[in-house]
């Protein structure tokens, strides 16, 4: 399934990159001028999201740098390991909504820990967790930042509920399949 989808992705990407200018040209659009006009926004959008990204990543950086995440994991670990979320995977679950690269790094740690590895229960659960949830805070910062939205209303609650559901489902599925 994976090679098929990778193949498909490659061709769809190619079709978009070739098809859009070609279609525009056939329809009489001044494609070069249109492209430059649109591309101009790329820089301003990127600059516009900087303060939003700095705000959340600095806060997360301080939290993780202080070791607060590890402390939280140590307190909660004994409880969650009883319901199928081992103490090795818990830090990953806590970091996932805050930092995608952070949780991927923790997953790498699980894979390289002797006695765990990618085919252990912890390794498999961590893999599903990483693959089925998204970095909610990053998504919100980038997308809201790009249009200057500071009041997220219920977006944060909905995003975190989705993350929590992804976590619960991952644990239930891993327990049903591998324990």
């Amino acid at each position: 399934m994976k090679p098929v989808l990778e193949f498909l992705s490659g061709w769809i990407l190619l079709a978009l990159l070739v098809g859009i200018p070609l279609y525009g040209w056939v329809r009489g659009v001044k494609v070069y001028e249109a492209f430059v006009e649109g591309a101009k926004e790329g820089f301003t959008v990127a600059v516009r999201i900087i303060p939003f990204l700095v705000a959340i990543l600095a806060a997360v950086g301080a939290f993780r740098g202080a070791g607060a995440m590890d402390a939280l994991a140590r307190v909660l670990g004994p409880v969650t390991s009883r319901i199928g979320l081992p103490a090795e995977v818990l830090p990953m679950a806590l970091v996932r909504p805050l930092s995608g690269s952070g949780s991927l790094g923790l997953l790498g740690n699980i894979f390289s820990t002797p006695g765990l590895g990618p085919d252990s229960y912890a390794g498999k659960l961590g893999s599903i967790l990483q693959g089925s949830t998204e970095t909610t805070f990053y998504v919100l910062s980038v997308y809201c930042g790009s249009v200057g939205i500071v009041r997220y209303r219920h977006a944060l609650a909905a995003g975190l509920l989705a993350d929590f559901t992804g976590l619960t489902a991952s644990v239930l599925i891993a327990r049903a399949l591998w324990s």
Binding site: I50, V54, L57, G108, G131, Y143, A158, G166, S170
Partner: protein, 191 residues
């Protein structure tokens, strides 16, 4: 968001003080801030590329016809967005790119979608119901095949690197259903 922001810093200060490593708190914050700028600057190239492509597609009428095509699915979900609005096509392209794992195309499309939705926003600065639902869909990972995880598993010599695809899809689907349902239910309560 205000509460999260304060809690993260207060939590950091408490943990730093208990562990006696106050310097690490500041260092973590500086590293995070620098990382934020690096991420944003790194987006400029792909962002410009896809926003340029979007502009061509828009002028060729492609965006409008795409929006009409998916109207039956999007209308019940986004009642505040008029038929044929460019926001619909941008959201569709974002979701499609996400499913295929084209992350660097998905972000520019998503930003375009937010900009188009913002044009319908009577209260700038606060997210509309349509924007919240779109964000909620994006916070559930839509990727059909988690290629990064599979690659990491393969490099760690897993005996079955791709064996997690179906379990991932199952968990993603649960997250997506809850994301959409909670966005829809909470919009009636949250002002």
């Amino acid at each position: 968001m205000n509460l999260v922001f304060v809690l993260l810093f207060v939590g950091a200060a408490i943990a730093g003080a208990i562990r006696g490593d106050v310097k690490a708190v500041g260092q973590g914050a500086f590293d995070g801030a620098a990382q934020g700028v690096t991420l944003a600057i790194g987006l400029i190239g792909v962002m410009a590329l896809w926003l340029g492509m979007m502009k061509i597609a828009e002028k060729a009428g492609l965006i409008e016809s795409l929006a009409k095509f998916v109207r039956p699915i999007f209308r019940p979900l986004f009642p505040g967005v008029p038929d044929g609005h460019p926001a619909i096509s941008a959201m569709l392209l974002n979701i499609a790119a996400n499913m295929l794992g084209l992350g660097n195309a998905a972000t520019p499309f998503g930003i375009k979608a937010m900009e188009e939705l913002e044009k319908l926003n009577p209260t700038p600065g606060a997210a509309t119901n349509a924007q919240v639902l779109f964000l909620a869909i994006n916070t559930a990972s839509l990727q059909l095949v988690p290629t990064t995880v599979i690659a990491l598993r393969a490099s760690a010599h897993s005996s079955d690197p791709a064996g997690i695809i179906l379990p991932c899809l199952g968990a993603t689907l649960c997250a997506l259903i809850v994301a959409v349902a909670s966005a829809k239910l909470l919009e009636k309560v949250v002002k």
